[in-house]
């Protein structure tokens, strides 16, 4: 069950300061969705057949997901991922991945 709203917000502000990142959209959804990415995409690897995605530019990530969803990009695994993400979820994930790269 969620903690009472006021407490969550107050604590979020403190923790957000600690993390050096806090926006109204950050409710942990991006972090949760990113857990699935971590099953295949390693955090810090070069020249892997599965690219690192942490630190990807937010706008670029969103357009990549759109391209997988439309079929313009062809990998069937990423198409399945893209089709299971809503616009809001894609944005939250994009924001999380981009900001993780700045830490």
């Amino acid at each position: 069950m969620p903690a009472p709203r006021r407490m969550t917000l107050a604590l979020a502000t403190v923790a957000g300061l600690l993390a050096g990142e806090a926006t109204a959209a950050d409710d942990g959804l991006g972090a949760y969705l990113a857990e699935t990415c971590a099953s295949c995409h390693q955090a810090d690897v070069r020249n892997s057949a599965i690219p690192a995605i942490i630190g990807l530019d937010e706008t670029r990530f969103v357009s990549m997901i759109k391209a997988y969803r439309s079929g313009e990009r062809s990998d069937s695994i990423m198409q399945a991922v893209a089709k299971s993400l809503s616009e809001e979820e894609t944005a939250a994930l994009a924001h999380f991945l981009a900001t993780q790269g700045q830490q």
Binding site: A19, E21, G28, Y32, I77, A80
Partner: protein, 421 residues
């Protein structure tokens, strides 16, 4: 530091609510989660709980000092990957993530007292228990097959010693010998696994023992990625592989270990190497704890992975009834993340998002040729259901298959890091 594991503040914020929300029954006021089983499911639950809910005490109970993956062991059987590359230790979980790792066997769970008893005599109280007991084998299903028979006719359906035994037997097998693989009925761990094994053993035979033959005696009449496997066997290994379903043979009835023979309803097959993969159930401790139903597998709430039979105990991985998900290491890893979120929410009041799952099973047809099957999943009508599915096709270019093979190798590195690093 793995940057994947730095969590968002909202979930940390939730855990900070511990003081108000939890019922700290253990000394020092820290609620304790005990996780039994340090395979793909258990290790992932431990790591993600430790990262997302630092106010909890996380204890992982695992008998072995290293986990040896069953996934990718077919590459080892074919001489394409060293044995040691499949071993993963627990040092990072202990030192980088602050998890208490206890190398001992859990022998009994008392759901009423909320305790786990270890073989070494220790009793661990818990606020929540997560069990990732994997599979066990039904030794009563094939006459003559028992735990000791498994040394003569290895199942190699766990990593480690069993895989090494089968590799030794394959290496010692004379050219022209018959390799018999007995494939289990559904449901079982790693649905494409037996057929990937056929492909990679065939690849090894083609290189080292070109006159050898492979016979599959299957308890099923169809299997995962069947068209892809059979197409590849016909093209790459013509005349080497024969697959006989139970509706043709009447099924495997008995084995004669001393002669390495396998008996079906009407025939006896004398093998040079016999790989008998028996029917399976949830791991024994889950059965002993009363967590399995009459199917031999454990029903869970798919939103939380909490047992439907014993509230307060969660289960992940091969032992559960997973809806449309297969029994795979990837599935266990995926379920573990939802489970960790649910356990943290129950004990600390942190936020719980809608359960989402994902799985991909790569299968090698040869060293540089792999195919993929998988899906994303959500909870539909109280069950885990596939929402987006994908599968490789016959007739794909060699280049596409080679890319998939390289992806599979990259995936192994990533997912084992996600579990153990």
């Amino acid at each position: 530091m793995n940057r994947w594991t730095r969590r968002e503040f909202a979930r940390l914020a939730g855990t900070a609510g511990l003081v108000a929300m939890a019922r700290p029954t253990i000394a020092q006021g820290k609620a304790r989660v005990v996780i039994v089983g340090g395979g793909p499911g258990g290790a992932t639950v431990a790591k993600y709980l430790a990262e997302t809910a630092p106010s909890l005490e996380v204890m992982l109970v695992e008998a072995n000092a290293q986990y040896r993956t069953c996934f990718f062991s077919n590459l080892y059987l074919a001489g394409l990957r060293p044995f040691e590359s499949l071993a993963h230790g627990y040092d990072a979980l202990r030192t980088a993530h602050g998890i208490t790792v206890i190398h001992d066997s859990a022998v009994a769970v008392d759901p009423a007292a909320m305790t786990v008893r270890l073989a070494g005599g220790q009793t661990l109280p818990y606020d929540r228990l997560v069990m990732a007991p994997g599979i066990d084998f039904r030794y009563d299903a094939i006459e003559g097959y028992s735990e000791s028979t498994a040394k003569l006719m290895p199942h190699a359906w766990r990593g480690g010693e069993q895989a090494r035994l089968l590799r030794q037997q394959l290496e010692a097998m004379p050219d022209g010998g018959l390799f018999v693989l007995v494939a289990p009925p559904d449901p079982f761990r790693c649905p494409p696994g037996p057929y990937e094994r056929v492909s990679l053993v065939a690849d090894y035979f083609r290189r080292e023992k070109p006159k050898a033959k492979i016979l599959v005696l299957d308890a099923k009449s169809k299997f995962s990625k069947q068209e892809l496997f059979q197409d590849s066997w016909a093209q790459r290994y013509p005349g080497m592989v024969e697959w006989l379903p139970a509706d043709f043979t009447g099924g495997v009835k008995a084995v004669l270990p001393a002669e390495r023979a396998v008996k079906t309803a009407d025939e006896t097959f004398k093998a040079a190497v016999a790989n008998v993969i028996p029917p399976q159930t949830a791991g024994r401790l889950a059965l002993d704890t009363g967590l399995a139903d009459e199917s031999g597998w454990c029903p869970v709430d798919p939103n939380t992975l909490e047992s439907r039979l014993h509230p307060g105990i969660h289960l992940v991985g091969d032992a559960i009834i997973p809806g449309e998900m297969p029994k795979s290491a990837f599935a266990a890893n995926s379920q573990a993340k939802v489970c960790a979120m649910a356990v943290a929410a129950a004990l600390t009041g942190s936020r719980r998002f809608e359960a989402r799952f994902f799985n991909t099973c790569w299968s090698f047809l040869a060293a540089d040729d792999a195919v993929r099957i998988g899906a994303s999943y959500a909870v539909v009508d109280g069950k885990i259901a596939a929402t987006q599915k994908f599968i490789s096709k016959t007739g794909e270019s060699a280049d596409t298959r080679a890319v998939a093979a390289r992806q599979a190798v990259a995936w192994y590195s990533a997912i084992t890091a996600d579990m153990f690093a």
